[in-house]
């Protein structure tokens, strides 16, 4: 007993550790290192990126000669204050689309956690066999770089002179700008009631706008209160229109007697710059089979736009807003460089869409 006990305890400890090792994927990680299949090679590389082991991930690329390491790293960590600079690769799904003895195509769906919420990125990657292992060919961006140039800027800007540094922003002795909700539509979705429409700044000064809605029951009691949150362009220049969407999760339309809408506006300093053009807009089905509105954003100014936010309003044949969708673009908008975007919309809505209108909201990350 006296000499057996420590051995028994040590043995039990080892057995428990081995069991946990299996349970927590230690063995799987070990197998992954061999990169013996296209899927394993992709998983290995992405798991290394997930743990910020970029050197190891880069070392596993088949096309290192064509791709600079920093460029590869920036594919995941972003640049110019883009959304990817405030993100982390949280997970990924990998599936082989087709494979031969020497080459395979693998679809990787990357799930990022970002500063504005989750972001998914789908990449179809070529994986090549090199001896006993497989290596990923990371796509090389062949977009031509712009030469140095001068971009003349000619835009409107509104400044506001406040009462003093001790004043609260928003507690000003001026009238609020005139804004008006020009349309409102309440629709039932499978898991929620959605209130959507458009709001216009009718004033001659910029306005900072928030739209809120309160659902009222049969006895005018408040059922729920929500705001447009990030599904609106809060800064509206004179005469500018923004779509808005307010979601009420777990709510049924038949329980609602009325909706109380409220648009609050505040005078702010604003600028028409940067001007972002939206080109090649089209409704299509993407490679995952989803209905999307896609297009390209081009920053026509000389400043970098760090985080663009696309908001799209969809109209039926009567010109009524039937859906509003939005999405954040992972890349920063460099001057004059087109960047693709796509925002999805429900298939049942897509079939009723006659026209659409896209606006771009943006945020400049200062650090």
């Amino acid at each position: 007993m006296k000499r057996v006990l420590p051995l028994v305890l040590a043995a039990i400890t080892v057995v428990l550790i081995v069991m946990a090792w299996f349970e927590s994927g230690g063995v799987e990680r070990h197998v992954l290192r061999s990169a013996a299949t296209p899927e394993q090679a992709t998983r290995l590389m992405l798991s290394q990126i997930q743990t910020h082991n970029f050197d190891a991930a880069y070392a596993r690329l088949a096309n290192r000669n064509d791709l600079d390491k920093n460029t590869f790293i920036h594919e995941f960590t972003g640049s110019y204050g883009s959304l990817l600079t405030i993100s982390a690769l949280e997970g990924f799904d990998v599936g082989v689309l087709h494979a031969s003895d020497q080459e395979a195509t693998v679809r990787a769906r990357l799930h990022y956690a970002t500063g504005v919420g989750p972001l998914d990125d789908t990449r179809d990657l070529t994986v090549q066999r090199t001896g006993d292992t497989w290596k990923v060919v990371w796509p090389v961006d062949t977009t031509a770089k712009l030469p140095p140039q001068v971009i003349p800027v000619n835009y409107l800007r509104w400044d506001v002179i406040s009462r003093g540094s001790g004043d609260d922003w928003g507690a000003q002795n001026v009238d609020s700008p005139q804004v008006r909700i020009v349309s409102m539509n309440a629709i039932q979705r499978p898991d929620s009631v959605v209130v959507l429409g458009e709001v216009v700044n009718e004033d001659s000064v910029p306005a900072y706008v928030n739209v809120g809605a309160t659902l009222l029951g049969p006895n005018d009691e408040e059922l729920a209160q929500e705001s447009s949150f990030d599904k609106i362009a809060h800064t509206l220049l004179p005469r500018q229109v923004s779509p808005y969407r307010i979601d009420f999760p777990n709510m049924r339309l038949e329980k609602i007697k009325n909706v109380r809408m409220e648009a609050k506006a505040l005078l702010i300093a604003a600028s028409a710059d940067p001007v972002i053009a939206i080109d090649q807009q089209k409704l299509e089905t993407d490679r995952l089979g989803r209905k999307v509105l896609s297009g390209k954003l081009t920053n026509q100014s000389g400043q970098i736009v760090s985080i663009p936010h696309v908001i799209a309003a969809y109209y039926d044949s009567n010109g009524k807003v039937i859906w509003v969708s939005d999405g954040y673009v992972a890349q920063a908008l460099l001057p004059q460089m087109p960047v693709p975007f796509a925002v999805d919309l429900p298939p049942d809505v897509a079939k009723n869409v006659q026209t659409y209108r896209v606006i771009v909201n943006h945020f400049e990350l200062t650090t």
Partner: protein, 590 residues
């Protein structure tokens, strides 16, 4: 020179006598006093500010445990109050920070006393004194005091250690004084920390009960020992049921059903070297080297086997998800607990074995062994101190939040609720010194708002570290800003600025050269109370404000007024030196 028999020389060296407890306490004061005087826990730890925040509430509202400052209102009866109430009490004289440090000092000084008393059950007086001495240097203690800021864990553990000898005495010899003092100490310890009460007390008590059965002697029945232990446990349970009644009411009414929040101590430490360092190498230090020797030694001695098994089990629990055992035993509780405290318990539990190992080594190797153990103790102490400087886990507890409190205190800004983002563990610092209320908070078990409980995230101020879950919880809270009167957001990490901006807040002020920015949303109405069925009744408030503190005062009075009976253990007999049959060769003095 003696020949043919063991050494029976009466030693007079310092190394062969027990070290007086007074000296050990002085050493503990010399080691930890300056570290506490530097306010390390308050500036460098995760939880110290949290405990100060709780204490601050008691200082202002002793009999009202409903605290509106976090989570739009929560009940402090979800956390045993004794440590916080002592801080609150002392704060009337010393201020909150000094009071915190004094209570923590009490915990730090009680550790060697508790270990000494606990070790006396298992090993000789001298080995017990060594155990007590080494407990001053335990890395897990340093880690929990100065890095984790777990005041209640580090205060309740020695109280349990002090209670265990009484539990042993009562169970073995029906010593009524043991029953009385032991139960009162358990009440005080339970009133300090619930997790130690529910999990730690069992891990410590079962080996001691086993020892009491072994030591009962031929004249006593093992069943009687067990029955007496049951009586002790029953009385302690009944007492804790009363002393912590509001806590039990709260737990029964609102069991913790929120989504599990990830914690590194629950992961498989072998898959991440940083976690392994943080939760194994740093807290145990040089103890790791001694584990095999202690196991070998203890397994060979019947009386030490319960201690060895108790230590092994606690060690396994302290490894979190490195083995499946904690998950099997704890079930859903595994997802709620953090496991660094098990490491402290394991380290304290093994101290008697360290003491006896040191005793034998010093007997055999003299000064060399002393030097070796001293070096090992120093390394064990310094390892966590060094780790604090290089660890990638940074509590951010030392942020200057004066500007935030000043903003909230002026122009009626405290009519609205606020949120901090990127403030890490400085959030309680903000909350302590402002009248404004926040929707966020740092105590996960007290949260009842669906914006928190539906997502696996801890405090919103650190939302980004919880990935999509954290950011979704934050989005949900921001969406309900009007409902909660959430108007002001303080940002200390530009990571959060895009979301706040797109969601309709505007930057209004900045402090510390733009390090902290204030954002405001103009259409938010003033905050109104959020109805909650978790609000304690006035009677619960009265019980909460009196019984826990009373239990500690009673424990102190009993310790001072009723002396302990000397413990007699039949097994430890010193052999009287036999008469020398063979003449010793003595050189004549010239």
């Amino acid at each position: 020179m003696l020949m043919g028999r063991e050494d029976t020389t009466v030693h007079t060296s310092y190394f062969s006598r027990p070290i007086p407890l007074r000296l050990i306490l002085l050493l503990a004061l010399a080691v930890h006093g300056p570290l506490l005087a530097m306010q390390l826990p308050l500036t460098n730890s995760y939880d110290a500010n949290f405990h100060v925040f709780f204490a601050s509430h008691y200082a202002h509202h002793w009999f009202d445990p409903w605290n509106p400052k976090w989570f739009a209102g929560f009940s402090q009866t979800t956390y045993p109050p004794l440590a916080h109430q002592w801080i609150a009490l002392l704060s009337y004289v010393f201020g909150l920070h000094m009071a915190y440090l004094l209570v923590q000092l009490a915990g730090v000084l009680l550790i060697p006393v508790g270990v000494y008393r606990f070790a006396q059950l298992w090993v000789s007086e001298r080995a017990a004194s060594y155990a007590s001495l080494f407990s001053v240097f335990v890395g897990a203690m340093v880690f929990l005091v100065y890095f984790a800021g777990q005041l209640p864990t580090t205060l309740s553990a020695p109280l349990y250690l002090l209670a265990l000898p009484y539990f042993y005495d009562w169970s073995r010899t029906s010593d009524f004084r043991g029953l009385l003092k032991g139960v009162v100490l358990v009440l005080a310890a339970g009133a300090v920390h619930h997790v130690t009460l529910i999990f730690g007390s069992l891990l410590f008590a079962i080996p001691v009960l086993w020892l009491a059965v072994i030591d009962r002697g031929e004249e006593r029945n093992a069943v009687a020992v067990l029955i007496r232990a049951g009586i002790f446990a029953g009385l302690a349970a009944a007492g804790l049921g009363i002393v912590l009644l509001p806590y039990w009411i709260q737990i029964i009414r609102h069991p913790i059903e929120q989504m599990p929040i990830p914690h590194a101590s629950r992961s498989n430490l072998l898959l991440n070297f940083t976690y392994l360092t943080n939760y194994f190498f740093v807290p145990y230090g040089m103890l790791i080297v001694a584990f095999p020797f202690m196991a070998w030694y203890a397994a060979a001695r019947r009386r030490l086997r319960p201690l060895l098994l108790g230590f092994w089990l606690t060690l396994i629990f302290g490894l979190g998800g490195t083995t499946p055992l904690p998950k099997w035993v704890l079930g859903r509780s595994f997802e709620i607990l953090t496991f660094e405290r098990f490491t402290l318990w394991a380290a304290l539990m093994v101290m008697p074995l360290v003491g006896v190992l040191a005793e034998r080594a010093i007997d055999r190797y003299g000064r060399k062994a002393v030097m070796g153990f001293a070096t090992a103790a120093l390394i064990t102490l310094l390892l966590p101190m060094g780790w604090m400087a290089v660890t990638p886990f940074s509590p951010n507890a030392n942020i200057n939040v004066d500007a935030v409190d000043a903003f909230l205190s002026r122009d009626g800004h405290d009519k609205y609720r606020y949120l901090t983002l990127g403030f890490g563990n400085a959030l309680p610092k903000v909350s302590t010194y402002t009248d404004a209320n926040s929707v966020d908070g740092e105590y996960n078990s007290a949260r009842l708002l669906p914006e928190f409980t539906h997502y696996g995230t801890a405090q919103l101020t650190s939302a980004k570290y919880f990935g999509t879950n954290g950011m979704e919880a934050l989005r949900m809270m921001l969406r309900h800003a009007s409902h909660y009167g959430l108007k002001y957001i303080f940002i200390r990490d530009p990571y959060y600025e895009p979301l706040i901006s797109f969601a309709g807040w505007r930057k209004v002020e900045s402090y510390d050269s733009g390090t902290i920015t204030v954002w405001s949303k103009e259409d938010v109405p003033p905050a109104r109370p959020i109805p909650s069925d978790a609000m304690p009744t006035a009677l619960e408030g009265l019980l909460w404000g009196t019984l826990p503190l009373a239990s500690s005062i009673l424990a102190i009075l009993l310790a001072l007024l009723i002396p302990d009976r000397a413990r007699a253990r039949t097994e430890v007999l010193l052999p009287f030196p036999e008469r020398e049959m063979q003449g010793a060769l003595v050189r004549e003095v010239r």
